[in-house]
Structures are given as structure tokens and as C-alpha cells.
Amino acid sequence: MQVMDISWWALAGMFCLLAVPIIILRWTGVPLLRQMLTATVRMTVQLVLVALYLEFIFRLNNIWVNSGWMLVMIVIANLNITRSAGLRLQRLFPFLLAGLAAGTLPVVGFFVCAAVQPEPFYDARYLIPISGMVLGNCLRANVIALERFYSAIRTNTKEYITYLSMGATLQEACRPYLRQALQASLAPTISTMATMGLVSLPGMMTGQILGGSSPMIAIKYQIAVMLAIFCATVITVFANIRFSQRAAFTPYGLLDPNIFSR
């Protein structure tokens, strides 16, 4: 099946649709106009650049370039997680980088090598988009989890100390907060999985169908992607909390207030 291309003129026409939200925002006085315009410009520029480098990477299809690009994605995701969770980059960056890599690389590796089995196994056409989808979802979950975990201990110091005074180890005293963080961060992914196909048609599946794949192939990919996202989310959240604890607590078992950036 031939993929229907969108002409640049037609795409420019899509921008005209923005006139409606602009009028509504101006009329209601919502101060988001500037942000909306900036976000639109950023999105367009970023995606055009992504298309250019993806074309380059796909054409090159080199194992080192692909691995390097995955590393860049993990580093950028990690920078974003640390900053958005309100944590100090200098203290936690290496630990969170290890946690993110420990959760995403094996899952993406399994997905690509065992499920998709492209030839060669490092085929950029599969490796890069799948890594991007998994990382993007892990990013959101990790921001929620890390923010919840450390602020819960900070605001419940007496509770945390009580656990320690009852003979709990650091891990045992942190367990209630770990539980809360996992629950809060996984809830959106679980509800997305539960309503998938009923409430929304996922982007990847829609993309594949538009790209000419049969709906059954598209669905198989979507199921595999959702499973990969869920597994990677659980592993990265767990690993990031466990790894970052090494830098976040004083030798006395107390949360170091200097880990917070705000």
C-alpha cells in the first residue's frame, strides 16, 4: 500500500488551524499564547531536525552510531528526570543514569532481538524509535516516582525516623515511600493500558496503519511496545530509587537536604 504523503503546503495549512485556539486564548485572557507559539515553533524545528538525523542514521545504520545515539537519548532523558524531579544534578546524575540504563537497555534489547528480530539486530529503523518510545514513557514515570519518594521522606521525617528507631534498616524504612512512589508512577501507564483501543488509538499503531501496515501487525507491535514500556518503567523506577539512595542519604541514614535543587 502506498503511503499518502502530506505536501509542505498542506502541512502549512494545518498551522492555520491554530488561529482558532489563538482566538480562544486571547478572548479568555489565558496567558498561554506566547508559550503555545514557542512550543509550536520548537516542536516543528525539533521534529524537522529529528527527521533529518533519523534519515542520516537510518542510511548509515552503523552499530556504533546507533548505540551512541541511544546513549545520547538516555543522557538527555536523565537530565530531564533529575531536573524535573527537583533534584540536584551533580549529586544524583550518575546514579540515575545507571538506573535508567539498567531498566531500558535490557528491555529494548529483548524487544528488538527476541521479538522483532531485524537483520541486522541493531537496525536503526527499529532500535531508535522503540528506544525513544520506551524512554519517553520511563521519563514521565521516573519524574513522578523520584519526586514523590524524596519529598515524602522529607515531609515525613519523624515517621521515617520512627521506622529507623524500631530497628528498620535504611531499605526497610524507605519501603513505604518506595511503595507510594511506584504506585503513583505506574498508575498512568496501567490506566493507559486498560483503556487502550477503547478510549484512544495509540500513536504507534495509528502511525503503522497510516504507513501501510495491516492492523493486526500494528496491534502486535503496540502490545509489545506497551509491555516493554510497563516493564522498563517498573525496572527504571525501582533501580533509580535504589541507586540514588546511595547518594541521597547521609551515613547516619538521614535524607541529605542538599539533594534538592528547590
Binding site: E159, I161, T162, S165, M166, G167, Y252, G253
Partner: protein, 222 residues
């Protein structure tokens, strides 16, 4: 047993404790009192390793309190605060929570021991079937005390623990803490609690002075 030597606790712009020194022997029952914000709770926090002194040393059993000796101190003592932390949705679960920790797994109390402690604290056994969210402040405080007693702790760090108790329960708690082998380090403004204590420390603007007689509090301050 516990010695504070020239303990200073300071934040960036505030001196909380100013060269505080005192000794507390095993079996002593001491109380810290003073206006709010004077540093009483920080003394307790320093004692349990929740606040780290800027200067000075805390000694425990003749050894300076270090990262290595802190777990032993935490094993020995029980910390109960004004709004006790039960840490579980069910009362039985909360009572037995510390026994789920590796350090206490072999010390799981028998039903008979649990019943005895509940009786001593005038708590009905049906309380164990309740959710902790429906317990009154006084029931929560007594449940926290029951938990510490089941852990067979002998060293208690207590922050205003009788504040939510009715007179009868207060007397029951006092009776339990009267045992000579128990060491109590407390913050309180409860006149009845003071009858239990043998030493009195006044805390004012981060400094501690010893008083030979118990302070006199008006009922309104309790």
C-alpha cells in the same frame, strides 16, 4: 549512658542548640521543658541521630556516637512523638510492624504478651481489629507505647506523649514507665509526667540549665 558534650546545632542562619552538655545515667528519668522553639525537640532529634551536631559529641555507653554505633543506639531506644507514627492501616498490623523488620523477626510476641501489654495500657483487645485512621489520639499514643514495650526497649525518647491521654490512661502509662530499669528522656509540660521524672532541664534559646525542683506549670499550659 548518654552524654552530650558541647553540642551545637546550627542551620545557615539560626543557632538552635548552643553548647549543650549533660549526662544521663541508665534508669534515669529526665524531662526537658521550655517555650516552643527553644530547642527541646532538636535535643531529642540529636539523640536519635535525626539531627547531626555542627559541633560537639554525643556519647552513648561510653563511646562517641558514630555511623557504626548509631544502629546499636537505634536498636536500644524507642522514639515516640506527640503524634505517633503507626505506619500501617490496621491496628494489629501497626502493633506488629517492627517485627516485620529483619532485626526483630525472631522476637515476635505471643498473643498472651500482646494481651498483657494492652491490658496494662487499658486498651481493649478489640482495638486490634480497628483501622488506625479511626483511633483517637490517646489510643494511638498508647498503641505506640505498647509497640515499644513489646520490643522490650529499655530506653525511651518521648516527645509530649501524654498530651492526648485522658487522666486514667495517663496514670496507666505513668505506672508502666515508673519501672526503675527504664531510662526516659522526655519533653513534657504535663505536671503528672513531672512526678515521674528525677531530673529537670530547662531549655531556653538553645541553652540548657538544670533545675533541682520540678517546674510549676499552670493547667492551661498542659
Amino acid at each position: 549512658m548518654i552524654k552530650f558534650k558541647n553540642i551545637t546545632v546550627q542551620t545557615q542562619d539560626h543557632l538552635i542548640l548552643d553548647r549543650v552538655s549533660f549526662d544521663i545515667a541508665q534508669g534515669e528519668k529526665v524531662v526537658f521543658f521550655g517555650p516552643s522553639g527553644s530547642g527541646k525537640t532538636t535535643i531529642l532529634m540529636t539523640l536519635i541521630g535525626a539531627a547531626v551536631p555542627t559541633m560537639g559529641t554525643v556519647w552513648f555507653d561510653g563511646e562517641p556516637l558514630t555511623v557504626q554505633s548509631l544502629p546499636r543506639l537505634r536498636q536500644t531506644m524507642a522514639f515516640i512523638c506527640q503524634e505517633p507514627v503507626l505506619g500501617a492501616p490496621g491496628a494489629r498490623e501497626a502493633l506488629l510492624l517492627p517485627f516485620s523488620f529483619r532485626a526483630n523477626r525472631t522476637r515476635m510476641p505471643s498473643e498472651k504478651q500482646i494481651q498483657q501489654v494492652l491490658d496494662d495500657l487499658l486498651l481493649p483487645s478489640e482495638i486490634l481489629a480497628k483501622q488506625t485512621s479511626v483511633l483517637s489520639g490517646g489510643e494511638k499514643q498508647r498503641l505506640a507505647v505498647a509497640r515499644a514495650l513489646l520490643l522490650e526497649k529499655t530506653f525511651f525518647v518521648l516527645d509530649e506523649i501524654t498530651s492526648a491521654l485522658d487522666p486514667q490512661s495517663r496514670r496507666a502509662v505513668l505506672e508502666l514507665f515508673r519501672q526503675p530499669e527504664l531510662t526516659l528522656i522526655s519533653v513534657s509540660h504535663d505536671p503528672e509526667w513531672l512526678t515521674l521524672c528525677t531530673r529537670f532541664f530547662k531549655v531556653e534559646e538553645g541553652r540548657v540549665t538544670t533545675q533541682s525542683k520540678p517546674p510549676i506549670f499552670r493547667e492551661t499550659t498542659v
